[in-house]
């Protein structure tokens, strides 16, 4: 058996609200699959069904070859879950939390203790091991939560928005931990609303919106799907925009767009760095001063915007806190602090 997760035709409704609307998903052994979508897309519902916390309305779901509805107890022996609201006991110490989880996986007294110590070392929590979790920072709690998911060395690991609400430093730390996990050959299903995160961690990405798949592929494939690379230039003088546009039209493979306000030009190109070098050479020959230049590939944010017609951040804002527009990142940090 090579597929660790198989979902087909998965439907889940909450009253009139359709959370999952016929989702299909396959995750082969050893793969990290990123389930990408805005808030309310159905990511958490999918994870809750996969981890036996919720029963589906229709469709079939197997994890490690076991049907989650018919054999939930056996599924639970093979999975590890790390959720978005760190599911650890804050009155217990880090060590006590992991020891408890180990005992509840029935590792046995000695093994549970040893495993708790090993994981605390591995997640750089050994110094905080004997402090109650309520004294931990957000990043430390999240690492402990992830450690708890790995106590029984599960065949499949579910990470529900593992870095939502973390500060940039903790996020980077969490990423390298997850990458390490992936290198170890674990099968991981990861949900995220951060494009960068999916790009960074996932071998394969499924973009979902309103409970169904809207795109599927590697990060590169998704980026190609909405177009190739482009040269972006910002000129010093707006008067140079017209001649520069004419010049770029010669190397561009599509329409060259200009923006008077920001003195910016965008031209779809092929040929990568070599094209960029030629463009700069010609601009220099024509004595046109350039303030900023770049060869850009579409980000997953662009992908999302193209595929759904709305940005991931917008969708997140709708159900989130009223915050400063355009500063959703900050809004999330605040949510995490509460």
């Amino acid at each position: 058996m090579t597929d660790m997760i198989r979902i087909s035709g998965l439907v889940k409704r909450y009253g009139d609200v359709v959370a999952l609307d016929g989702l299909d998903l396959v995750v082969p052994k050893g793969m990290v699959l990123g389930l990408l979508g805005p808030n309310g897309a159905g990511k958490t519902t999918a994870i809750r069904i996969l981890t036996t916390l919720l029963e589906p309305d229709a469709g079939s779901v197997t994890v490690a070859g076991l049907d989650v509805v018919r054999e939930p107890a056996k599924v639970r022996e093979r999975i590890g879950l790390s959720g978005q609201n760190a599911a650890v006991d804050e009155h217990l110490t880090g060590y006590e939390n992991l020891d408890m989880v180990g005992r509840l996986y029935h590792l046995g007294k000695q093994a549970a203790r040893q495993r708790a110590k090993d994981l605390l070392d591995r997640f750089a929590l050994d110094e905080a091991a004997d402090r109650p979790v309520k004294t931990y920072s957000g990043g430390m709690r999240r690492r402990l939560d992830l450690a708890a998911a790995l106590v029984a060395e599960p065949e499949v690991v579910f990470l529900d928005e593992p870095t939502t609400g973390l500060d940039p430093r903790s996020r980077t730390q969490m990423w390298s931990t997850i990458q390490e996990l992936a290198r170890g050959g674990s099968t991981v299903l990861l949900t995220t609303q951060y494009m960068e995160e999916a790009d960074r961690l996932a071998d394969d990405i499924v973009v979902i919106d309103r409970g169904r798949e809207i795109a599927h592929g590697t990060a590169d494939q998704l980026k190609k799907q909405i177009g190739g690379e482009r040269v972006e230039l910002v000129l010093e003088d707006a008067a140079d925009l017209a001649p520069a546009q004419t010049m770029l039209a010669g190397v561009s493979v599509g329409e060259v767009k200009t923006d008077e306000q920001t003195r910016r030009l965008v031209a779809p190109v092929t040929g990568g760095a070599e094209t960029l070098r030629q463009v700069l050479q010609r601009l220099a020959d024509a004595n046109i001063s350039v303030v900023d230049v770049g060869l850009r590939r579409p980000t997953l944010d662009d992908v999302f915007l193209t595929l759904t017609g709305h940005a991931a951040e917008e969708a997140a804002e709708g159900s989130g806190e009223p915050g400063e527009p355009g500063e959703t990142g900050d809004v999330r940090e605040k949510e995490a602090v509460r």
Binding site: L53, E77, I79, A87, H91, M100, V101, L104, H106
Partner: protein, 268 residues
């Protein structure tokens, strides 16, 4: 491992976790222990000064068993509150995704609350001794008296476990439980002689299991004096009647609570 052994060993792990919390937050204990002491002193001196119980029994000896019964029942709200609190947190998702027994969170909670009840009974007994209560029987009878109190408390904590899972809000558990615990513990042979109550209340009090629990403790500690026991089966056989109630409550509320736990989604 058999499912019963699994439920017990997993329950023990959860119980240990709950006891660690009491160790870390001793103020939880302080407040819940002060109230029984306050009750002993208030009832003993406020009511005790004007209530003549008759039968040659000192009121402060008579009502202590009632206070014991009332306190363990109030103590059971702690079970409901603890579970309601757990249900609102992410930790319940962790537990539900682990291959542990489906009843362990409940057996662990009700199990650790036995310890909690032991402490509060101990505190009350000490306060009782200070205000003049004495055990007039032997060691074994006394142990029997404490045992029946704890046993009933254990059964009743399953009722509150169900309430806690059902409403899943700490405040609602507190308010809701007061609504039925007050009549249940006052319209009973706890603080007054039930035979002096008006007709319907007398019947209710005589068959109220709380009366039987208090009467069991009273008999076990030898605090009945010459006071005539009402001629109803429930109070003539308080131990047996209490045990029947314990069996009924456990038979109903263990399965109900386990089912409720399995289907309740975390509201966190």
């Amino acid at each position: 491992m058999s499912s019963v052994a699994l439920a017990l060993s997993d329950g023990a792990v959860i119980a240990k976790r709950n006891l660690i919390k009491i160790k870390r937050l001793p103020e939880i204990l302080v407040w819940t222990l002060i109230s029984p002491i306050m009750f002993v002193v208030l009832f003993g001196y406020v009511f005790g000064s004007s209530i003549e119980i008759g039968g040659g029994v000192n009121y402060r000896e008579f009502f202590i068993a009632g206070i014991f019964a009332q306190t363990v029942i109030f103590g059971s709200t702690y079970t409901g509150v603890g579970l309601a609190e757990d249900m609102t947190k992410g930790i319940i998702d962790r537990f539900r995704s682990l291959p542990m027994s489906r009843s362990a969170v409940l057996t662990g909670r009700t199990g650790s609350d036995v310890f909690y009840n032991m402490i509060s009974i101990f505190m009350m007994a000490v306060t009782g001794l200070v205000v003049g209560w004495r055990i007039h029987t032997g060691v074994f009878e006394a142990i029997g008296g404490f045992a029946i109190l704890l046993l009933f408390a254990y059964a009743f904590s399953w009722v509150m476990a169900f309430v806690g899972l059902k409403v899943a809000s700490v405040e609602v558990v507190n308010n809701a439980s007061f609504m039925f615990i007050f009549p249940l513990t006052f319209v009973a042979r706890t603080f007054v002689d039930s035979s002096r109550l008006p007709g319907p209340l007398e019947a209710f009090a005589n068959w109220n299991p709380v009366s039987a629990v208090a009467e069991s403790a009273r008999v076990a500690f030898g605090n009945t004096g010459n006071l005539p026991t009402p001629d109803v089966w429930s109070l003539q056989h308080p131990f047996l009647y209490t045990l029947i109630w314990v069996a009924i409550i456990l038979a109903i509320f263990i399965p109900l609570s386990v089912r409720q736990y399995s289907k309740a989604a975390s509201r966190g």
